[in-house]
Amino acid sequence: MNWRGTLIALAVVLPLILLFRVGMHRDPRAIPSPLPGRPAPDFALRRMDADTAAGTLPTDTSLVRLEELRGRVVVLNFWASWCLACRDEHAALSAVAEAYRDRGVVFYGVLYNDTPESARRWIEEMGGQSYETLLDPGARTAIDYGLYGVPETFLIDRSGRVAAKQIGPVTEARLSARLDSLLAAAPAEATP
């Protein structure tokens, strides 16, 4: 056996094996988001079902601004009527939104690359939505949140920081647990 040849072969092959080992256990589609822990990107979005009679301009109350929601825990769910996984999580989202409504948690859906007409039809078909949906023309807010698909759900704490990001459908148990821990955090936690 040629020990030098073996050594060279090992020096080449071993790093490759290690590299493949690391690579095999990673999901190449999982994009690490830099957002959690940072201030949530601000937005001012129109309510999909704002009371805008024909001919009148959208009033100030038809806009939802993130900065006005400080002090409350915000759940932001990006969705679309063409998104299949959104159907899976719809019941869970609606139920959790209702359960936490009186506990200082506010839910908003953000429509992603979809028309209000199909969105309304979808909500009707799914038996209603227990929270409001906002419109995001041009997906500006979606891009601001580093979105790459729907559904994606962001949890924003009382101080306006992104606490967590969930890619794919949420489950009732997991969302509730996360909200519980966010609500348990000291409410007067003032952050600059």
Partner: protein
């Protein structure tokens, strides 16, 4: 001769249309568009596999190109626009990793490999010439 005339006629008929088409597809602010393309070519499309937002026809890529255009028109530099996308999507959004830290491996390894290959060849050639053109008596694994 008549064939050449015919070709000339066809060419003459096509030329104005071609020019009109070129004028139509040239954007009003071509300098801005060129910069948009340059930045967009370096940003990864989040819903594609290995495509830039310049090459992707998806809705999200179009919207991201619009954001690039807006920010450049507002006076941001290409580096600032890229920085915006990195702050939202992480380094992952850059098709070319920044030459820092562990990323340097990607930039240096090819050159190191080429240098190592050149060294192996140089040593091999020197041995070969020293033995006067005779094949190297040592087995090839021992090089």
């Amino acid at each position: 001769m008549s064939r050449r005339l015919l070709a000339g006629a066809i060419l003459a008929a096509l030329l104005p249309t071609g020019a009109a088409w070129a004028r139509q597809s040239a954007p009003a602010d071509s300098a801005l568009e060129a910069r948009v393309r340059e930045v967009a070519a370096g940003l990864r499309c989040p819903v594609c596999q290995g495509l830039s937002i310049l090459d992707s026809p998806t809705e999200l890529a179009q919207e991201m190109r619009a954001v690039v255009r807006e920010q450049l028109a507002e006076g941001r530099t290409p580096a600032e626009v890229k920085e915006y996308f990195v702050s939202k999507y992480g380094e992952w959004i850059l098709l070319e990793p920044t030459p820092e830290g562990l990323n340097l491996v990607v930039y240096l390894l090819p050159w190191l490999t080429v240098a190592a290959g050149a060294a192996v060849i140089a040593i091999g050639v020197r041995r070969w010439t020293r033995t006067g053109g005779e094949p190297d008596p040592t087995p090839p694994e021992a090089v």
